[in-house]
């Protein structure tokens, strides 16, 4: 049963990561590839604060705010770049964050990582076992998903989609598109930071190797497979990846074949999705008439 709670908690975390990435990648059309860095900063910020005696509530908030501020700084300098140029700039940012985590020994303990991160304690209640941690994560996920849903369905959200579809049109309506983009990017980073905090206190051990480009690809597969620019996309993506792939562990195949097999299937799905259903599972469902049409262009 704990195994179920463990997987369900991971699903919530990936849902948060995918939806927050979708916020700017899918809905706003910002091709930024540094989500993993926001996640890592959140995880380290929260773990370090709690390990130095700060209460979890404060650490959790800081874990969101710090990457959000950094994303705005990064955005101010780079968000005007187009498509793949922005992709490369943000990938560079992710690499810088990863080297800082690796080399700032006195703070992050470098390659040794942070071990024994305490379980969260909120108003005197400790969420130590798998079940209670799952309920905590599910609760936070539900709140954040609801907030993101409201944002995306608000007039603000519609402007984001307009920017994605036609930035000039949005500007001609008098919208400050850079400010909108920065806000969407910042919200994405904020939620990724919250997910990082939950991850750190869930696994209780983090090291710089947990936040490298490899892990970005899983978030990206979930987001793309689920459907960029659809709110239900990340739900479907997480379900597809976790519910169909975790049982692969139970196939009567030696573990040394199963690992690579999973990676194969991820990549195959990614390519097939991009080739045949660029709008992902979410798009397949909603827009039957527009099946196969890509919503998000860069």
């Amino acid at each position: 049963m704990n195994y179920f709670y463990h997987l369900a908690t991971l699903m919530c975390l990936y849902l948060l990561l995918a939806q927050s990435m979708n916020m700017y990648l899918g809905f706003t059309g910002i091709l930024a590839l540094c989500h993993i860095a926001f996640y890592g900063i959140g995880a380290y910020a929260s773990a370090l604060l709690v390990m130095h005696g700060a209460p979890f509530e404060l650490a959790f908030l800081a874990a969101g705010i710090l990457p959000a501020l950094l994303s705005i700084l990064l955005g101010l300098t780079s968000i005007r770049l187009k498509a793949d140029y922005l992709g490369i700039a943000t990938l560079g940012f992710a690499q810088i964050v990863s080297s800082i985590l690796q080399n700032w020994d006195s703070l992050t303990r470098g390659a040794l990582g942070l071990a024994g991160i305490p379980k969260p304690e909120i108003f005197g209640v400790t969420f130590a076992d798998k079940a209670s941690f799952f309920y905590l994560t599910a609760g936070i996920t539900a709140v954040l998903m609801f907030v993101m849903y409201r944002i995306l369905k608000s007039p603000f959200g519609r402007v984001l989609e307009t920017i994605r579809d036609d930035e000039v049109a949005a500007m001609s309506l008098g919208k400050n598109t850079v400010a909108y983009k920065l806000t969407a990017f910042g919200i994405g980073a904020l939620v990724a930071g919250f997910a990082g905090s939950l991850f750190a206190h869930f696994i209780t051990f983090i090291d710089p190797a947990s936040f490298v480009i490899n892990d970005l690809s899983l978030i990206l597969v979930i987001t793309v497979l689920g459907g960029l620019g659809t709110f239900r996309g990340p739900f479907l993506g997480v379900l597809a990846i976790m519910v169909f792939f975790e049982p692969l562990r139970f196939l009567p195949l030696p573990a040394e074949y199963l690992g690579p097999l999973r990676l194969w299937i991820y990549s195959l799905l990614f390519v097939l999705t991009l080739r045949f259903v660029p709008s992902g599972l979410g798009g397949l469902w909603k827009h039957r008439s527009r099946r196969g049409q890509q919503f998000t262009r860069y």
Partner: protein, 371 residues
């Protein structure tokens, strides 16, 4: 159509789930095993798996008379915390493992430990060297020594030799840091003084640090690099500056055959601490031959392979004697009198770390001699 196939897929996977929980015969003992089977570290994981399989084969041959067999249920920890924790959770909950061999990477062991600890499952790592593993939990054991051990060992040795001030030149990496921290802490506790100068892995000129340290006229030097290449440069520059020992060397600097040959005279009479593998012993020779016969190549990481082989034997002996139960095996290991295996004599301290991790060796005409 899509929904229908979705339904079929879910049903199929649940059937698979149900059919795999089957129970083996009462005489088969299954232990969990956790290692990096994919990713950059998979070369360690595959070697670990090979060595463990050889041990299982030998154990089953020995157990045949009693009609018992041993099995390992492998899970992939991918050398990271997330996968290590998920794999451990699966082994504990779904497979009902009471004893787990692994993780191999320190990240796997450190992330798995809270899970196995809560379930009172014994976790036994043959390869994690992070000093953090020492305090990872009561049910966590390992037969690969912590990096900090050699630091402690050398500090005690230096104190016994009557040295009061040691000049240390140390690289900024996790391995070297572990050793430096442990050495300094123990040596100061014993009343000595350590002056440390650090350098970054990309540095190539250490003359400033060496000169500065030499001004303090230390009783002994501690050379603590991450790689033999850096040790070579350090020795060369120390030699140029006319530094004379005695030297204490970490096991990178003190056991490389090339260095011991190239600096034969310079390093004469220096000391190092290492986990020594006697490659000439009959057991190790037989293991290497057996490995090559089975897998068609020499083991890549002989040291880790031998600790893995020994670990499987220690765990097998334990479950045979006290049953496949985490708490019972912990009690067994706590009152352990030691196991003489391929990697030497293994016994544990109160934290589940190996006692005889490192021994002090003296360098005599280009070879290391146990003290």
């Amino acid at each position: 159509m899509f929904r229908k196939s979705l339904f079929t897929a879910v049903t199929l996977s649940s059937v698979l789930l149900a059919s795999c929980g089957g129970t083996g015969s009462a005489k088969t003992i299954t232990l969990g095993a956790l290692g990096p089977l994919t990713g950059d570290a998979s070369s360690y994981g595959i070697d670990m798996q090979n060595a463990a399989s050889l041990a299982v084969k030998d154990i089953n041959a020995a157990w045949a008379a009693e009609g018992m067999t041993l099995e390992l249920q492998w899970e992939n920890g991918a050398c990271n915390g997330k996968d290590g924790a998920t794999a451990a959770q699966k082994l504990v909950d779904v497979d009902g493992a009471q004893v787990i061999l692994g993780g191999f990477c320190s990240s796997e062991t450190l992330a798995a430990a809270p899970i196995t600890e809560a379930a009172k499952v014994l976790l036994f790592s043959p390869g994690s060297s992070s000093p953090d593993v020492t305090n990872a939990g009561d049910y966590v054991y390992r037969d690969w020594p912590s990096d900090s051990y050699q630091g402690t060992k050398l500090a005690e040795f230096a104190n016994e030799n009557g040295w009061k001030t040691v000049a240390m030149v140390s690289e900024e990496t996790d391995y070297a840091k572990g050793i430096a921290g442990a050495f300094t802490a123990r040596f100061q506790e014993l009343g000595g003084t350590v002056t440390e100068e650090k350098y970054l892995s990309e540095d190539t000129d250490f003359k400033t640090q060496i000169t500065k340290l030499n001004a303090g006229a230390p009783d002994a030097w501690f050379v603590n690099p991450q790689t033999p290449v850096k040790a070579d440069v350090l020795f060369k520059q120390m030699q140029d500056l006319g530094i004379e020992g005695p030297f204490l060397l970490n096991d990178v600097a003190g056991t490389s055959n090339d260095l011991l040959t190239n600096y034969k005279d310079y390093l004469e009479g220096s000391y190092t601490a290492t986990l020594y593998i006697d490659e000439e012993s009959e057991g190790v020779k037989a293991f290497k031959a057996n490995y090559e016969a089975t897998y068609g190549s020499q083991p890549n990481y002989l040291g880790y392979d031998l600790t893995t082989y020994d670990a499987v034997w220690i765990l097998a002996n334990a479950v045979l004697e006290v049953g496949n139960n985490g708490e019972a095996v912990k009690a067994y290991l706590d009152s352990f009198t030691g196991y003489d295996g391929l990697a030497g004599h293994t016994d544990f301290d109160a934290n589940g770390d190996p006692l005889a991790g490192h021994s002090v060796y003296k360098i005599v005409s280009g070879a290391i001699v146990k003290q």
